[in-house]
Amino acid sequence: MIQQIDFFAISPPLVLALAAGLVLLLDAFLPARPRTRSGLGLVTLAGVLTSLGFVVAQALRGGAPQSTFCVPPALAGGQAQSAAMCSFVVDGFTLVFAGMVLAAGVVVVLMSMTELAGGAIPVGEWYFLLLCTLVGAVTLPASRDLIMLVVALELVSLPVFALTALKRYDGRASEAAVKLFVVSVVSTAIMLFGVSLLYGIAGSVHLSRLGEVFSGRQAPTVAGAELPAVVTVGVVLVAAGFAFKIAAVPFHSWAADVYQGAPVPVAALLSVVSKAAGFAGLILVLVTGLAGQAATWAPIVGILAALTMTAGNLLALRQRSAVRLLAWSSVAQSGYVLAPLAVAAIARGAVGASMAYLVIYAAMNLGAFAVVMLVSRTAARNELDDYRGLALRRPAAGVTLAFCLVCLAGLPPGLAGLFAKVFVFRELVGGGAGWLAVVMAVNTVIGLYYYAVWTGRLFAPVGGEASPATYRPPVTAWLAVGVALAAAVLFSIAPQLVLDMTALSAFG
């Protein structure tokens, strides 16, 4: 039987995959010269931008969601059933996540071009792996069956181990790669176990059918009309698997070591792209697949969110390394993104609030990482003390970092961060999770401490000699900073943009 494939629907990951292959070929056949290095970077950038262009085209096309890789009508038992059982669906949700991941990908590629200019890292492999991760991250939000979800999630994770370890003969990087590998493999194993349990009960891997079974509208395949108790185990295991990816408590401890050991662009990738993929999967599974089991997972998600934000913020308080601080801060921010999902079954806008927070978080966090990347070129240890007086030495970088940190803290003039928090607070208060709102309020204050101290350091006068900035960062570094800053400023002035985007994708 021949499958009809809608190539327009799958064009974004397809373009990325083709670009990945092209980069590998070019790297093999072109002479190893500095110009080749930047050439490969440009090819990668072009690939990501083309893919982003297709996403925009899909968004502009509007209309009904496009779906492909459906179960043929003959097997599904009718045209309507076939339309409901598709593995790859392009709807508002998919487009928002794909767009965010690709825009983040542009910044990460720009940062990579700065990082790779040093020459210590093999270029072709780097870009190939980076593009592979993006393929996974773009495919994942479109996946509507469990197998596809797991495969896409692995496609996001596997190349990242290699990317982390690509800096050869670096002890920290190797350690980070091994840690990430072990944690990730364990989480995949746990999740696969959960997935197999769910499949066993429902007899289908398609999320739409899972949703019907677990909400009791359709009988499970196993004997008896009642759902067996093992459903709970399956739900918890799947949730735990995703919790690893988004570094939620109690699976958060890998974050700091891995972020610090990995090259800065990879840390940025982990904190935005890989995290967004994890959240996309979590939302898909919980809200579409397991909506009927909300009574089981909603309290767990609420408690995890509270613990995650608290642990992340408390651990960030004592950090001295900039990247470690951002690692724990991103754990805390994961908690904020997770919080509205706890009321997703009650409040209609909860998923939208989560996504809006994630989109804004991506912009402001990438801005911070882009500046950290710049500073890491001159200060190898990249400690907070290296940022003393940055606003005086490099006003543009200093002011950008200050803005992004204030955004992350959620205070004006970083209105984007403020509104993101307001979205979340609104859903929590409206959804009756007052306790979680109070926990988040206290956490906002704890978080402000380290952001404020770091921001204050940017403007503190340097004691002694004022070292002139001798290092001239390449234009790509400034471009990365500029793109992220522009997004953060845009979201600050017109937060409605984010709301419009995410409202389109809200699940019914």
């Binding site: 004006p412 003039p413 979205f423 204050v445 402000l448």
Partner: protein
């Protein structure tokens, strides 16, 4: 037709700040004048507002502007002015302008070469601060109010943390964490109101006087919003950030902190907490009154124990704000009027006091009262007289602005609104009255130590002078030292720029003291409308 005025009030300082941000190579000399021009323009716009304001109908929201900003949140750019916010807006614009005047006319001298360190950042910070302060008083949308309420945090953090005294880092962190904790709790309260009523419009919410909000929810929301406002006000026992922040802040920071930022808290009570949640207000008012009188007495006792001039003024703010809160707690037009009057009067008087404390510290390089050594009326008669004037105004001498507000607040407590326990409020009135006596006591003690007595020769001599003054060159200082006590260096008396900055405040204190009706006629009608459901 007047809708452009609120926009201009926000746009002028914001524009000034943005232009400064985009021009990294601005000539340093032009900066003080630059700040002066933009704050002067803002002041001019606020005076236009004062002139075009329809004084016949101060209860009506005037110069209104209502545009959607974030429809997804229901957030509207809803600005407007009535008799309650008008005086505070003009006060804000005036104090900011005077601060810039103090900085620029004083040149490098003001605040110990304060302007010479990072002038561009300083002007930028002050302009952004002004946007936040004016915006808070203009906002007629709950979330918009919150946004402006938060805007002031970061500039104030930098003002204390970059240009402050020795303990600035700890003080600035304490300030920002404390006030943010208050404001996120307030945000939760505001969202609770919103979740229940489905609107963020302050005008509509206060017109409905809490209709559709169950009593238990009103109490919960009032407590949450009240805590946020009380931290900013500050109310005992949430005041502990204030003395540190004031002591470490530079002069202009202290002036704006005491003169305007504290008013944002009390203004919130009058604009949001009491009108929107009247039943909650009735239930919580006895507690609010209790904390207020404790604050009055506590502030006065703490002042008696202070050795540092700036710290003393900071604690006196806790006491004065206690009177303001007591006025609100009575929920009567008299009491709330008194509170609003005391609010403005405190802004003028304490603003002046912090200017003076800054001047004293600049001359003596200490603000420890024992080390000042007394006799200021002999050595610097003009500075001593202005200090005496400000202190006496602050302790509430009839005929000066400080008197009316506190008198009305106590008078309101004599006859609180129906539904409030009268006996309790009578007790509050008596305790508050005792607090007023204690206030007089500590100010008089302070004056007797600082302005009276014989000047002590050695301690009064400055440790070092500013390099801009010819007398201060090391060589000259050495020669004067050998010449003996006859040629002592006497610090200057009031300088011209100081006089320029202080005179408007002195005049206004006298004006409002002699003619309180000027302010009361503005605030009485809106207060009656806002309290509609209670009285």
């Amino acid at each position: 037709m007047m809708g452009w005025i609120p926009v201009a009030l926000l746009a002028v300082p914001l524009l000034g700040a943005l232009v400064l941000l985009l021009s990294p190579h601005a000539p340093r000399r032009a900066l003080p004048a630059y700040g002066l021009i933009f704050s002067g323009l803002t002041l001019a716009v606020s005076l236009v507002l004062l002139a075009t304001f329809d004084h016949g109908a101060p209860a009506r929201i005037q110069a209104e502007l209502d545009q959607p900003w974030v429809p997804g949140l229901g957030l509207r750019l809803h600005l407007g002015v009535d008799g309650i916010s008008l005086p505070l807006i003009v006060l804000t614009a005036l104090l900011t302008f005077l601060c810039f005047g103090y900085l620029s006319w004083g040149g490098a001298r003001a605040g110990g070469g304060f302007m010479s360190a990072r002038p561009r950042a300083l002007v930028f910070t002050l302009l952004v601060l002004e946007v936040g302060m004016i915006g808070t008083f203009l906002a007629l949308d709950l979330l918009l109010f919150f946004v402006f309420f938060e805007i002031v945090l970061i500039p104030m953090y930098f003002l204390i943390g970059v240009w402050g005294g020795a303990g600035r880092r700890a003080a600035s962190i304490k300030f920002i964490l404390y006030t943010l904790l208050g404001s996120v709790v307030m945000l939760l309260g505001l969202l609770l109101v919103w979740a229940q009523t489905g609107t963020l419009d302050i005008e509509a919410l206060s017109a409905s006087h809490g209709a559709g909000l169950p009593r238990s929810l009103q109490i919960l929301a009032f407590v949450a919003i009240g805590i946020g406002l009380a931290v900013k006000t500050p109310m005992w026992p949430l005041h502990t950030w204030l003395p540190d922040a004031h002591t470490e802040a530079p002069t202009v920071g202290s002036v704006l902190l005491a003169g305007v930022l504290l008013k944002m808290g009390t203004y919130g009570f009058a604009r949001i907490a009491i009108p929107v949640l009247p039943e909650g207000a009735v239930a919580v008012a006895p507690w609010l009154g209790a904390f207020a009188v404790v604050g009055i007495v506590y502030g006065a006792l703490a002042c008696l124990a202070q050795r540092d001039l700036k710290r003393l003024i900071a604690y006196s703010s806790v006491g004065h704000m206690g009177f303001v809160l007591l006025g609100f707690a009575t929920l009567t037009p008299v009491g709330v009027n008194g509170a609003l009057f005391a609010n403005v009067a405190h802004g003028l008087i304490t603003g002046l006091l912090f200017f003076l404390a800054g001047a004293v510290k600049e001359r003596y390089h200490t603000s420890e009262i024992p080390e000042l050594g007394g006799g200021m009326l002999t050595t610097m008669p003009r500075l001593g007289s202005v200090l005496t004037f400000a202190a006496i105004a602050s302790l509430g001498l009839p005929g000066l602005a400080g008197f009316w507000g506190e008198m009305l607040a106590l008078f309101g407590a004599f006859q609180p609104a129906d539904g409030l326990p009268r006996g309790l409020f009578l007790a509050y009135m008596v305790i508050g009255g005792l607090g007023a006596v204690l206030t007089a006591a500590y100010f008089l003690v302070m004056l007797s130590r600082v302005t009276h007595g014989r000047p002590r020769a050695q301690t009064r001599r400055p440790i070092h002078e500013h390099p801009v003054e010819p007398l201060a060159s090391p060589a000259r200082a050495a020669t004067t030292a050998t010449l003996g006590p006859a040629a002592q260096i006497v610090p200057d008396d009031i300088r011209r720029y100081e006089l320029l900055a202080w005179t408007p405040l002195v005049v206004l204190i006298l004006l409002f003291g002699l003619w309180p009706g000027l302010l009361l006629s503005l605030s009485t009608p809106p207060v009656q409308t806002l309290l509609g459901a209670i009285s």
